[in-house]
Amino acid sequence: MKAGIVVFPGTNRERDMAQALRLTSGVAPQMIWHRETSLPSLDLVVLPGGFSHGDYLRSGAMAAHSPIMAEVRRFAERGGYVLGVCNGFQILTEAHLLPGALLRNAGMRFLSQDCHLKVERDGLAFTRRWTSGAVFRAPMAHGDGNYTASEDTLDRLEGEGRVVFRYATADGAVLPQDRTCNPNGSARAIAGIASENGRVCGLMPHPENLVDPAIGGTDGAPLFTGLIEALAA
């Protein structure tokens, strides 16, 4: 699998993502500077976490206008796989590659803690290693992770099976009103969604930070091993 990681000024989890991809696939991804105007030949484009342009104005807003994003859009339109994590998810929404927006966390504080994610939609390249209803642990680290969209959009996402991950308790209960279970207050406890064709996926928590038994565990690894499998096929 040939993966590329887009680096914007202020991106800071590109090394984490590279490490996760390297560990799970055995191949180091390429780093792609945001001012590039073409993408190399790739199977997967990743927009990693961080504070692109300081997240000043709105998280991800300025990055969504970087030259490379026109290419990422074209790549997605041709059916390419795109994964956006944390700031990457914010950038995908700002670029309208995914619907909705990420507001300030409901409690107004940055949240750095483990959360549990329930897999709502299996069978995607991103989730093929799980079955629907599976729960896994992932660290979250963000100030603006409060997913919002119009009721229509939310209904459509649910109807089309595009809600990929939800915040949940360790045993899989989804309690949108409960701050210990849905810490940032996201609408319908949504943590991650996908595009219509299921090939563009964004989520707030960081599965890439849980892929190494020496660093806290491997709960996040299935996302990457699944992708590698899917893209090799």
């Binding site: 104005l57 709105r58 807003a61 300025m62 206008h65 929404t93 700002e94 309208h96 619907p99 909705g100 927006a101 507001l103 300030r104 966390n105 409901a106 107004m108 409060n146 919002t148 969209a149 119009s150 207050g185």
Partner: protein, 80 residues
Amino acid sequence: MKVRVTVMLKEGVLDPQGKAIGHALGTLGFAELGEVRCGKVIDLDVPANDAGAAVTQGEAMARALLANDVIEDFSVEALS
């Protein structure tokens, strides 16, 4: 020419910041506040000769970057 772009969350979009501010003002003893909404202002010095042209430029910038039309509305006014 100076213009001010004001960006507010759309009506109906939950405003966590406004809510937190309302709560904090309540604990400080400011009672009976209605809804509190929080937004941004961006003051820009644009290369225009008259207020109309300046506002048009401000609007273009708001559409291009300063506001996210999924969740936000904006207004632009010429300053001084």
